[in-house]
């Protein structure tokens, strides 16, 4: 969208350089042309005057010569011939007073060396000069002279062409000089333009070099101030948000996450796309906490809980995306992705050992202050409700068991109805036969009720037998390492075939983490974009998981560069603001971030304001995803979030 808008702007505007260039060139041309015209006119006038004066001189000599002939015709004609042949005349005429003798010499030769248009243009009119011829006291006739205009035409034409060359030369030289001067004077403006463009791209660029021209200097100073202010607002907003997040999602005593965070994060963790192998969840309960408080006092008891938190954090170390949360005063939850049951038993054992040592430090016994651990080894795509229920169940068992304080919930392995090999056949078949169809879901702006963009998803559709939804096949596809292939199939279908429903709109494609991690997928996508992106009838943008971007900045940067070179937009989804600061947003500068509606609604007004300050200062749109109910929509409106996707969009259009 942004790029399209910029294109239009370019067409309607003209650079200052051009405008000044045109204005000054016009002045120069007009000036030179006036000088030329004046020069031409005065030369012409001078020449005509010159010929006139010469003719006056000549006629007096001629008249006195003729006067000496006493009117003899042969004499008169010879004198006129001699004068005519030895000078420059158009015509010499003699008329005797009695009208009996007339003699005339005329030059009717064609004017050579001067184009006829110039003759018409110059249009020289010479006046005929007359004088009486007297012999003694008697007037014998009248002589008339018309000067030669060809000589004027010729030299005027020469002057004209010279002036023209001079004009062309001067114009060229002065325009060249002008262009050099303008580019020198306007050089700082180019830098200002660069800075302005950087600001439009939401980059914080400070221009260090101050231009020489006063006005430009003020502009640069102003822009620098503005950029600094926006950057300050960004940092402030980012800090406020962080503080609010801590209040919202942290246990104030142990600095561990709280229950609210756990509940928000769990669905994301168990989703198969993030953890193909599932993991282990541990519920840990401290029994006899009242005794702890009584015998040690509040302060020491708090210290015990803090130390316990450290023990859990140590236990969790080494598990990527592991979570330790204090869900209430005496209960903790540990989520250990990719952790097998056997390993979790070792971990539980180590926790108990260290717990014992901790109690010994306070001369307490494990019989009075107990620590029970209930564990559940979960598989991908388990429902969160089941997850919690089973872990809780395990904890109950652990508490109830007098011999052991650790219990593992066992689960019958009947999850996937279809076997691995069956899935392999279906997926590989769909890849070779290209059995894939695309679906598009709208992302809407609530206020205008208009579709902002469409989000693409795809299903395996073998046309005859059955359809498999994304949620069905993606888990086995991850297990079988076929994610990139099936993604490329869908992307090929999107880019190389026509889809009328998304013509002239923006289409968003969500890229899974598995796809992003595959180096071959990068090559395939970059080739596909390079070859086809110009011919697309819609604009394209991509979504990457926010968490993935935080943890794989180099990889994501490469993808973003790929998107940018192919004029594709991009954004982050599943936003949770988990990074230490928002610097990564500044670096990547996505077009939008999509956050789960439940995350957004969790935020206080303050916290939401902070997010919006950050995103506004970077020009990032906030989109709520998985919006289902009108209540959610209203709550989002109250938080000034107006862009939504999810089932609710059907209701908005209707």
């Amino acid at each position: 969208m942004e790029t399209i808008r910029r294109k239009y702007e370019k067409e309607e505007t003209m650079t200052l350089f051009k405008q000044m260039g045109i204005a000054v060139s016009l002045i120069i041309i007009i000036m030179l042309a006036s000088v030329m015209t004046i020069s031409y006119q005065s030369t012409k006038k001078d020449m005509i005057q010159n010929v006139y004066e010469t003719s006056v001189n000549n006629i007096s000599t001629l008249a006195s010569n003729l006067g000496e002939t006493s009117g003899e015709e042969a004499y008169i004609s010879t004198i006129i011939d001699a004068a005519f042949d030895s000078g420059y005349y158009k015509r010499i005429e003699f008329h005797s007073s009695d009208g009996k003798f007339n003699y005339k010499q005329v030059d009717n030769a064609k004017l050579e060396g001067v184009p006829s248009w110039f003759v018409d243009f110059a249009d020289i009119e010479l006046t005929t000069i007359k004088e009486n011829v007297s012999s003694g006291w008697q007037t014998i006739g009248e002589v008339q002279i018309l000067g030669d205009s060809t000589i004027i035409y010729k030299s005027l034409y020469k002057t004209f062409t010279k002036l023209l060359y001079l004009f062309a030369g001067f114009t060229f030289a002065s325009l060249l000089l002008l262009s050099l001067m303008l580019s020198f004077i306007l050089k700082p403006l180019k830098e200002i333009q660069n800075q302005a463009e950087a600001i439009t791209r939401d980059e914080f660029v400070i221009q260090e070099k101050m231009p020489y021209t006063t006005e430009f200097k003020e502009v640069v100073r102003g822009m620098n101030m503005m950029v600094k202010k926006v950057e300050y607002i960004f940092i402030k907003g980012s800090e406020t948000f962080k503080r609010n997040q801590e209040l919202l999602y942290m246990d104030p005593l142990t600095k561990l996450y709280n229950r609210r965070y756990l509940m928000l994060k769990l669905p994301d963790i168990v989703v198969l796309e993030n953890r193909a192998n599932g993991g282990t969840i541990m519920f840990v309960a401290v029994g006899g906490a009242e005794l702890l408080n009584k015998s040690l006092g509040h302060e020491a008891a708090d210290k015990v809980f803090c130390s316990l938190g450290d023990i859990f954090l140590d236990a969790c170390r080494g598990f990527e995306d592991g979570i330790v949360a204090r869900v209430n005063g005496t209960e903790f939850t540990l989520v250990l992705p990719n952790c097998e049951a056997s390993m979790s038993l070792d971990i539980a054992k180590k926790i108990h050992e260290r717990y014992e040592k901790l109690l010994q430090k306070y001369t307490l016994e494990t019989e009075s202050v107990t620590l029970d651990i209930g564990m559940y080894r979960y598989r991908p795509n388990v429902k969160v409700v089941d997850l919690l229920k089973r872990a809780d169940n395990a904890l109950l068992h652990a508490k109830a068991d007098e011999h052991s304080s650790t219990y593992i919930y066992e689960e019958k392995d009947d999850e996937n109805a279809m076997g691995k090999e069956q899935w392999r056949e279906i997926i590989e078949d769909s890849i070779t036969k290209k059995h894939v169809s695309l679906k598009f879901w709208p992302m809407m702006e609530i206020r205008t009720k208009k579709v902002d963009h469409n989000v693409m998803t795809f299903i395996i559709d073998d046309k005859l037998k059955q359809q498999y939804f994304y949620g069905d096949f993606i888990a086995p596809a991850i297990n079988l390492g076929l994610v990139s292939k099936i993604y490329m199939l869908a992307l090929n279908e999107l880019i190389t075939n026509k889809h009328e429903e998304i013509d002239n709109t923006l289409c968003c494609v969500r890229l899974s983490n598995e796809f992003l991690k595959d180096p071959l997928a990068f090559e395939a996508l970059s080739k596909l974009l390079q070859e086809n992106v110009r011919a697309l009838t819609f604009d394209l943008c991509f979504e990457i998981s926010d968490n993935f971007a935080i943890h794989n900045p180099m990889l994501v940067k490469r993808f973003i560069e790929l998107f940018k070179t192919n004029k594709c937009g991009f954004g982050f989804n599943s936003f949770m603001g988990e990074s230490d600061d928002f610097a990564y947003l500044k670096v990547f500068n996505p077009d939008f971030i999509k956050a789960d509606v439940s995350f957004l609604l969790d935020q206080s007004r303050d916290s939401m304001n902070a997010i919006q300050v950050v995103t506004d200062s970077l020009g990032i749109k906030i989109i709520a995803s998985f919006v289902q109910t009108q209540e959610e929509l209203n709550a989002l409106n109250a938080l000034n979030v107006y862009k939504v996707q999810g089932p609710i969009t059907d209701k908005i259009t209707n």
Partner: protein
């Protein structure tokens, strides 16, 4: 080396020919042949051989007489009849080619041939005179005057080449030229429009 030598030689030839254009050359003879016929060509050939070549080493008087006699063989006809205008200065080539012309044309042709023969052009003047014919009529006329000395002191010092007289006589012996109106230089003095035009026509050998 041979080819370079040939090339240089050709170059020198070209250069010299363009610098020292001959009054009569093979090309003008060919053109005259095409335009006016074989007689015209022969007349030009005769100027080249009988006059320019044979008189090369003769004295001025001999040159004047021979050239005058030769040129006077061409028939007189007014400009009006030949060129349709009242007064036209024909080139040597036009005059000899057409084999007719008026008093100015005789004068011009004599002037150019004598100049080519090495007679000092500053001593030859185009002279406007009044000529009285046998019936007593005064006529406007032009002859070529030749100064025997640099600064003539009397009419005896000036010889007249006239198409009305076979002989080259001193002005003192020409009682029929009753008045001299004006003498002008040929192409050596200040150039009038007429002279400029004639010079240009001569240069491009207007036929």
């Amino acid at each position: 080396m041979y080819s370079l030598g040939t090339f240089l030689f050709t170059l020198v030839l070209l250069f010299s020919s363009s610098l020292n254009a001959e009054l009569i050359d093979a090309e003008i003879e060919r053109k005259a042949d095409a335009k006016y016929g074989a007689f015209a060509k022969n007349r030009l050939l005769a100027i080249d051989e009988k006059l320019l070549n044979d008189l090369k080493n003769a004295d001025d008087i001999k040159k004047l007489n021979t050239v005058n006699t030769w040129v006077n063989f061409i028939k007189y006809k007014s400009d009006k009849k030949v060129y349709g205008v009242s007064d036209y200065w024909a080139t040597l080539y036009e005059f000899v080619g057409k084999n007719m012309g008026d008093c100015e044309d005789y004068t011009i042709t004599k002037y150019y041939i004598l100049k080519e023969l090495g007679v000092d052009p500053k001593r030859m003047k185009f002279t406007y005179v009044i000529y009285k014919n046998k019936r007593g009529k005064k006529i406007s006329h032009m002859v070529l005057s030749y100064f025997k000395v640099e600064q003539p002191q009397s009419k005896n010092d000036i010889l007249i080449l006239d198409n009305n007289n076979r002989l080259v006589l001193p002005a003192s012996k020409r009682k029929d030229l009753i008045k001299m109106i004006k003498m002008i230089n040929g192409d050596t003095g200040p150039k009038s429009k007429k002279w400029k035009q004639l010079e240009e026509n001569m240069k491009r050998k207007k036929l």
